[in-house]
Amino acid sequence: MTTKNNESLIGFDPLAWINDDDETPAQEESSMEQVDEISSEVADESSPAEELSSQESLSEPEITELIDNSKITLDDTLNINTVLELHGKLMQALKDNDSLEIDAANVNNIDTASLQLLVVLKQEAFKLGKDIVFDFPSDRFIEAAELLGIDNMLGVDQSAAGFF
């Protein structure tokens, strides 16, 4: 069954049938006609299947929600309006992980409040013996950090920024 979610960019979920039941969609719906034809032939013919070594079915993977928050991507704009939410997100990530990778490639606007938050986060990580790395900082991110004289502290000085 497919569903429409008005808030999502994904109008309907083409994979919804997987969770609805364990049945595959009707074969005629598949675009892989020739490969499906061969699978049907396998089902009909015994010889190749007989030669296959039998394998026990693996158990279905356990369904658990385990979202890795050790890698965080910063948004395009970070300012006083977003800093509270970002604070919560980063502190939780720091609590959950021994090291954090923060992707700063998309940052286009960042204010002093947000930079202060990142400095505090770095200091907090240092106290806890944890590691925070800012990956692929954008030019704007580096520029703002340089302006406040914290580029070295954040580890985003140009020499550390690598190829990007």
């Binding site: 960019l9 994904i10 979920d13 994979l15 892989m32 699978s39 089902a43 190749p48 394998q55 990956d135």
Partner: protein
Amino acid sequence: MSVRVVAIINQKGGVGKTTTSTNLTHALAKKGYKVTVIDLDPQGHLAVSFGVTSMQISGIDAVMLDEKNVEQQVIAARDNLQLIVAGPRLQEIEQLTDGGAKRGDLLRKALHENLQDQDFVFVDCPPSSGVLVANALFAADEILIPMTSDFLALQGLSHLVGTLKRFESALKKKYKISLVMARYVTRRRISKEVLNTMLKHFPQQVLATVIRESSVLAECPSSGKTILEYRPGSRSARDFRDLADAFLEDKVM
């Protein structure tokens, strides 16, 4: 421990199959694993990515046509990394209409009890849905599906999963299926939504490392180098080193 046969498959084109095949296998080889990678795409792009540009060398085509043994066709591409090129006649196999199910079983038979000194055999599949992909599905124990972060890729994945389920039923086996988000564009909201949709339907199956879209990955095939050679210090090289770790350690999101 027996060799693990992994098909890198997605019938949609441009999702990063060959890029993943090239760079993941090289990353594994650099970690000391013995890896053979087979180019099952008649376009021969995998070989080009490794710097093998002659289209006239016979490869897996001659093996599947029962003219050569698979061990005869390996080319030492890098340390610990062997390549079997597509060969000029692979397209003939794609167009086979006779032979029933047996025409799908050529690769599995060719690999049977061969390449036993290898840790991994990877099969880079063509962006199609014919006899060659069926051969990969017969031969493989594991499936690695590269995905792009767009809606049509989800649509294609739905068809692919249906096909995999039918093969599992027909062959009476259960694939280990992993997905890798390749060509990931972090700044697009749709990317995150596609990834979340994948996580919802494939819990514990999406590898923890995403391969971010980058210009260097598009550049390196023209030099015949993997990303680990072309820009070893780049974020893309690191993505593939991380992906190799995730693949080896079953690190998933």
